[in-house]
């Protein structure tokens, strides 16, 4: 094989291995950060929007739409203001809903929130638009004291069919919570993953949830050792915390119902998709600051390329002068230095993309375990290509000054014997 510009450039990089690796790493970290941030930003919003499923209206008595959506659809914390069963029935009667799903939150099992609901949750509500619930194994609950477990909760808590659990009254790890050992719940179904916050929840019937609360009430009156059944329920026990609702394809009706409910001071009504959109428009400022920081890191890595190459010029003047004596033109040595900076940008960009995948995996894992949100931080292929191209372009820009130094190197001065 004969010698080529490529040999000279790569060998030159190898003779300065440490400096080359540090420079490449600084580019890789910057590219990784920018890529991760861009891919997470889109994926996060999509995932939140996906989690609201086919719910057109979330009706509750929470302080505002945002806490209502975060608490009742993303399990941030248990809603605090209950809706009586009678109020729910009245609501259903008053408006032409296509379907409604009553939900009740406030209990938990270890880390997992427990939602009380009825069969309509699995029949009418789609966790993601167009995606129905699917059981990985077992059946849906149809009797009190049966639970169906979300995919993530099942994996994390090691729950399988036939297991029995006791629920805790209160949110996970909340103060004042207590475990109801007197009621055993049997796992009758495990759900397939939906990629939403619902994957980390456990579902049971409203009756079961109400019986637990009725038991607390009755114990306060009759003391410990009593038993409570569905027959002991009174109106006061039968409460829910939110209603998932939809009017189907009737857009006109939706606008009318929404405006009517918005005027009613007794209800808090939220359009979940819009609320998530508003949330992201609020956090987009922070997002832009983070993006600006990532770009600043990218620019600083450009400066580090410039410094690394510029400093190496002192050592390389002789090499450049020798190449000039051998017949290399000024533009050719200029292009050799630019090629070196492009290689740094290319390798750094490729490693940066790999780092962003690794970072994405870690963040995805943490979010799935802590928040139950499954996000897929991915960009289209041309997005990654654009980022690598930008990295190469930035590196080339950073290499221009050192390349000019190489271009202007005085052969006579560089080869003058040291005195």
């Amino acid at each position: 094989m004969s010698m080529s510009d490529w040999n000279i450039v790569t060998r030159s990089m190898r003779t300065r291995t440490f400096s080359s690796i540090v420079t490449i790493l600084s580019v890789a970290i910057a590219v990784g950060l920018v890529t991760l941030l861009i891919s997470m930003r889109d994926a996060g919003e999509n995932s939140f929007k996906r989690g609201t499923g086919n719910v057109q209206m979330l009706i509750s008595k929470e302080a505002g739409p945002l806490p209502s959506v975060l608490n009742s659809m993303f399990y941030a914390s248990p809603p605090t203001t209950p809706i009586t069963w009678a109020q729910y029935l009245e609501l259903k009667r008053s408006y032409p809903f296509a379907w409604t799903v009553p939900t009740q939150l406030g209990d938990s099992y270890l880390d997992a929130p427990v939602m009380g609901t009825d069969g309509s949750f699995f029949e009418s509500f789609q966790p993601a638009q167009g995606t129905d619930w699917t059981l990985a194994t077992g059946v849906y609950f149809d009797e009190p004291f049966q639970v169906v477990v979300g995919a993530d909760a099942s994996a994390r808590l090691g729950l399988s069919l036939g297991d029995t659990i006791s629920l805790e009254h209160g949110a996970p790890r909340s103060e004042g919570g207590h475990t109801h050992d007197e009621f055993s719940f049997e796992v009758v179904g495990i759900l397939e993953s939906t990629g939403t916050a619902h994957d980390r929840a456990i579902f049971t019937s409203l009756d079961s949830s109400w019986i637990i609360h009725a038991h607390d009430r009755r114990e306060a009156i009759f003391g410990h050792g009593i038993t409570t059944s569905i027959d002991d329920l009174i109106h006061e026990d039968m409460k829910i915390t939110a209603v998932y609702a939809s009017l189907g394809n009737r857009k006109g009706a939706l606008v009318q119902v929404l405006s009517a409910l918005l005027r009613d001071p007794n209800w808090t009504v939220a359009s979940p998709a819009d609320t998530v959109g508003n949330l992201f428009s609020i956090v987009s400022n922070i997002d832009q600051v983070l993006l600006a920081m990532a770009i600043a890191v990218m620019l600083s890595s450009g400066v580090s390329i410039l410094l690394a190459l510029y400093n190496s010029m002192e050592q390389r003047r002789k090499q450049i002068a020798v190449l000039r004596v051998l017949g290399a033109s000024r533009p050719r040595v200029f292009s050799m230095v630019l090629t070196e900076s492009a290689i740094i940008g290319l390798i750094g960009g490729a490693i940066g993309i790999a780092l962003s995948f690794l970072g994405g995996l870690i963040v995805t894992n943490v979010l799935a375990q802590r928040v139950g949100i499954v996000i897929e931080p991915a960009l289209p292929l041309d997005g990654y290509l654009m980022i690598v191209l930008a990295s190469v372009a930035l590196s080339c820009i950073a290499g221009v000054l050192p390349a000019i130094v190489a271009y202007r190197t005085s052969v006579v001065r560089a080869l003058r014997p040291a005195m």
Binding site: M1, S2, M3, V322, L326, P331
Partner: protein
Amino acid sequence: MTIRFDVQNTETTPALRISSLAHRYASSGTPALQIDALTLDPGEQVVLTGSSGSGKSTLLHLVAGLMDPSSGTIEIAGEDIHKLNGHARDRFRGRSVGMVFQTHHLLTGFSAEENVMAALMFSDIPRGSHRDRARTLLESLGIPTPSQRVERLSIGQQQRVAIARALACDPALVLADEPTASLDPDNAQVALDLLQDACRSSNAALLCVTHDQRFVDRFDRHEHLASPLEQLQGALEGA
């Protein structure tokens, strides 16, 4: 883009012809070099001596086209190198002029054969023959391990690699700037033998600059380069 050089028949055209050459330092305007005429025929070997500051190294830089003279012409194989600009001049130098330096100026981090091939990469010689050509040259100059990195070779071996590199493209002219200055007497002798033999076998003219008077008899011709000050003194004495 193919660049054609108007190289004349080397059998009849001098390898080097210098006419009315003068060079002044741009900063001070002080005369650095003055040569009325100097000609080297193909294969001729000329040693140039002179006191320190006489402009010996400056002359080599001017001949190689690394500097432009204040006035006068320098033709290599019939081509006025200073009439060529930029890329054309660089290519012409790479093809027609070989240079051997006092401190070798080899590319560190590269093997002996890669150093020789580095000279070939700027020539018109087909790339496929570069390695064989480099190995043959190195072998003829007594380098048995052409793949060894140059910094691991002895000083004497490094000088041989430098000679091989200077002759790699079959130049019309080889310029040697104090080629023995960094060598002990025995190695200096061997290096000069090799340099002169190699130039002879490729019919390259050799212009060797040295201040070492011991070797002047080995060359076809000895020229002394007087500094502009010495020339002025000579002129005054003559008057």
